[in-house]
């Protein structure tokens, strides 16, 4: 268990201000926040790269506040991987074992096992600069994991990757989290990563924690405008997925059934981007698979854009231009129809 107690430190450009939290053993914990919110600095404090001005860091009931990073048992993965450019993939991964003076044959077998696990065995003799982003990230993960850290800390580990590689690595991280039964602390500004990976999330703002809890909780009940702004523009609905007709997936939320082109069964979350939802006051013929009737619950005037919350059995957020909002003569309580395509429904 990791406990941060009133942790504070002031760098000139950033500061961490009175952060208190607990992370359970084996938990996947994500710090979410915009750039400049001090996320990286908090991670580096936990890893021991800085000393706090005040406050305590407790790991496994031991005060490690003044312990140097080499004695903390923390694995660290940076966004830009920070592989040692003068060492091969093998030697990068072996680094932590070499420091520990592990016997040569033992190092070889452990590194090979780790490379195997992460699917990078064929890269063994390559230098980091010849690797793709995803390969570098896997190498960095292997290097951190081989010392069997109590905690794996990752700073924006997926931000520099293309979308497909990112998806692959998200699956990889899930697998690693289960296999090693390791506590993971992960920092990102990407809400999607938090949805897919986190057990719990803390939203950070200017060095403080704005809100902490499970992802649904934060999404459904943002504590303040900052959190709402940061996570707020997506629709997320829990449901049970099963195979439907026309090779679609039907997601029963208990109130409505949403159709998606993505293949999933069992308990899922469905997300729909607000801009993918269209609205009309009369029922119109459409190719969209998802058509729901409901009424307008809330209207937010954002200037040129109007944000609406509609209740169609589930509450969904959508956006309209000011002009169409005026043309449709909308007001709270008005009966409406909403439409969105099955391809617009993301399941995870």
């Amino acid at each position: 268990m990791i406990k941060l107690e009133n942790l504070s430190r002031d760098w000139k450009e950033f500061k961490i201000d009175d952060v208190t939290l607990e992370i359970e053993d084996g938990e996947y914990f994500i710090f979410l926040g915009p750039s400049g919110s001090g996320k990286t600095m908090l991670l580096e404090l936990i890893a021991g790269m800085w000393s706090p001005d005040s406050g305590k860091i407790i790991m496994n009931n031991k005060d490690v506040t003044r312990l140097p990073p080499e004695n903390r048992g923390v694995g660290f993965v940076y966004q830009n991987y920070m592989l040692f450019p003068h060492k091969t993939v093998f030697d990068n991964i072996a680094f932590g074992l070499n420091v520990r003076k592990v016997e040569k044959n033992e190092i070889k077998s452990q590194v090979e096992e780790m490379m195997n696990l992460l699917g990078i065995s064929h890269l063994s003799n390559r230098l980091p600069r010849t690797l793709s982003g995803g390969e570098q990230q896997r190498t960095a993960l292997a290097r951190a994991l081989i010392i069997h850290p109590q905690v794996l800390i990752m700073d924006e580990p997926l931000s520099a990757l293309d979308r497909i590689t990112r998806e692959e690595l998200i699956q990889e991280l899930k697998r690693i989290h289960q296999k090693f039964n390791i506590t993971i602390i992960h920092v990102t500004h990407n809400f999607d990563e938090a949805l897919k990976l986190a057990d719990r999330v803390a939203i950070m703002k200017k060095g403080t924690i704005s809100q902490m809890g499970d992802i649904d909780e934060i999404f459904r009940h943002p504590k303040d405008e900052f959190v709402a702004d940061f996570v707020g523009t997506e629709n997320i609905i829990r449901g049970f997925a099963s195979d439907g007709e026309d090779s679609l997936t039907f997601v029963n939320t208990g109130n409505i059934v949403i159709e998606s082109t993505q293949k999933k069964t069992g308990d899922v979350h469905a997300t729909i981007r607000p801009e993918d939802i269209t609205l009309s006051t009369d029922k119109v013929p459409t190719s969209a698979r998802n058509v729901f009737e409901g009424h307008i619950k809330e209207i937010y005037d954002l200037g040129t854009i109007i944000k609406l919350t509609v209740d169609v059995g589930e509450q969904l957020v959508l956006v309209l231009t000011r002009q169409s909002f005026l043309d449709l003569e909308l007001n709270i309580g008005k009966q409406i129809y909403i439409y969105f395509k099955a391809t617009a429904v993301n399941l995870f």
């Binding site: 890893a47 990073p69 080499e70 920070m82 450019p85 003068h86 951190a144």
Partner: protein
Amino acid sequence: MRRLDYTTIFFALMGSFLVLFILIPIVNLMVSSNIDSIVANLQDSQVITSLFISVYSALIATLIAVLFGVPLAYILARHDFFGKGFVESIIDIPIVIPHTVSGIALLLVFTSGGILGAPLGKLGIVFTNAIPGIIIAMLFVSSSFVVNSAREGFESVDPRMEKVARTLGSGTLRTFFVISLPLALRSIVVGSILCWARAISEFGAIIILAFYPLAASTLIYTRFVQFGLSASTPVAIILISICLALFLVVRLIIKGWRTYDKT
């Protein structure tokens, strides 16, 4: 073919002035003496001794500069502290003051009665008119090359790489030797060779502090004063060849050394 505009042509013409200004005297010098006199000088024991003194003393000065300059460079690259600008300025001072002035300043301190010369004299180390004098004259004027180049090298190593090494269990000193130093080594070697070449070329501070034993640059000067151009030119050619060879090595290292951070 790429068309050149008038501005580029004009600037190229202007710029070639300096290139020719440096190149012509050196090329002219290299061809102004016949091979026989160069060979004769290479068999002259006074010339060989003075060349040896220059190369050897410069090597010692460079090693001292590396030994003390690399840790300083690392501190300057990694830490901000009160008075950092002052320290940086001090390292650069020898570049901006006349070398004869450097020589006088050193002489005052390292003469047999000087504040450093007296205690070191008791240990048997004499500076005036001795090789240690040549070495400290060279060290004074050329150590900044090592410090500045090594510093650039360390600055190009991302501190986060060192941090990762530390989380993997490597202490600060080990991290320095296994990660930072190898990655900055190219800059350190380039700086050292520049320091060495600059030390071999030193004259002004040396003649004040240690006219004897004759270093190569001092020998050229005495030959010129005593016997004129024809006597000094062959020695000058030999010395300049050594310096140019060192310079060439630097360029080759810069080009050929495996760089890790660029693809």
